[in-house]
């Protein structure tokens, strides 16, 4: 069965970069969100298996999304994809329950590596 996946980034280019880096073998159904609030609206109303989450976004940032996921007990895996590579930020998102941190810009190697590591492909 296809995995419901949410790609959340305020940049159209960044969302396409994620999509294009995913292998054919990854059986998924995609939805997108342009900021954290949009992402939460999707997460609260639908079952999402995996979220690719940007951090620096307008309205609500990725940390806010992770906090809400944790507080509301929303059941999904989150892979953070961000340009904010400060060690403290990476530590913070991992503590908030993110599965992995991927540095932008993404490419096939980075995405496939992390998907393999956590058994998504």
């Amino acid at each position: 069965m296809a995995l419901p996946v949410l790609i959340c980034d305020d940049s159209i280019l960044a969302r396409k970069q994620v999509r294009k880096s995913l292998p054919e073998s990854f059986d998924a159904e995609f939805q997108t969100a342009g900021n954290g609030l949009e992402a939460l609206a999707v997460l609260r109303s639908q079952e999402i298996g995996l979220v690719f989450l940007d951090l620096t976004m307008p309205e609500l940032d990725g940390v806010g999304v992770l906090e809400a996921i944790k507080a509301e007990g929303i059941d999904c895996f989150v892979i953070v994809i961000s340009a904010d590579i400060q060690p403290e930020m990476q530590k913070r998102v991992m503590e908030l329950g993110a599965l992995a941190f991927v540095q932008k810009p993404v490419n096939e190697d980075k995405i496939i590596g992390v998907l393999k590591q956590y058994g998504f492909i």
Partner: protein, 204 residues
């Protein structure tokens, strides 16, 4: 935003490239200051260089400001001048963080260092993504005096046709620190940039 003919797709693409470059620059800044930097989405605009003095006159007219400039040169005719503008009030906060006295001669050196870190890390990050590589001239202080920001910008931007204005806001824990970065670029660079953006967009 005055976009000088950037399409929405091109603007989105440039914004993302700048976000990535900003992330690298912030990481360097955070390490230099030994603190954590809260990143915000930078606002970008491409404007005529002649409008630059008036764009910044209001924001800096009542404040003591410092301007640090650094030239950059790359392949395919990519060249320009990067200017970082600070309000000294902000700079004093940073120098306090690093243990300098306000008005200290070394405070100016500190600003030169920070500007160089921000400019070169940012521009290298930008260049990497567009498969270019840049070299730099030594950073120089254009002004650290009161009330002449517009004049200094007028003299500097006079030689250039276009400017990519990047409003950067770094918030440090316990401190807030804002600066503006202006990239002055020659006219032909704008069409080069558009071509580069289109090339990236085509790949997706």
């Amino acid at each position: 935003m005055n976009n000088l003919g950037f399409s929405e797709e091109q603007r989105d693409c440039l914004q993302e490239i700048i976000n990535v470059a900003m992330g690298l620059a912030s990481d360097k800044l955070a390490r230099f200051l030994n603190t954590f930097v809260h990143l915000q989405v930078p606002s970008i605009a491409l404007v005529g260089a002649m409008h630059i003095p008036e764009e910044f006159e209001n924001r800096y007219q009542d404040a003591e400001a410092a301007l640090v400039s650094q030239g950059f040169f790359g392949n395919e005719g990519v060249r320009g001048e990067a200017i970082v503008l600070y309000q000294m009030e902000n700079a004093h906060k940073i120098s306090a963080l690093l243990g300098y006295e306000a008005g200290d001669v070394s405070e100016i050196e500190m600003l030169t260092d920070i500007s160089s870190i921000l400019t070169t890390t940012f521009l290298n990050g930008l260049a990497d993504q567009i498969e270019n590589s840049l070299s730099y001239s030594a950073p120089r202080i254009l002004s650290s005096r009161h009330g002449n920001v517009a004049d200094v910008l007028k003299n500097t931007s006079f030689h250039w046709e276009h400017a990519l204005k990047v409003d950067i806001s770094y918030q440090l824990i316990d401190h807030s620190f804002n600066c503006d970065m202006i990239l002055l670029i020659p006219g032909e660079a704008v069409s080069n940039i558009k071509n580069i953006l289109d090339r990236i967009l085509e790949a997706y």
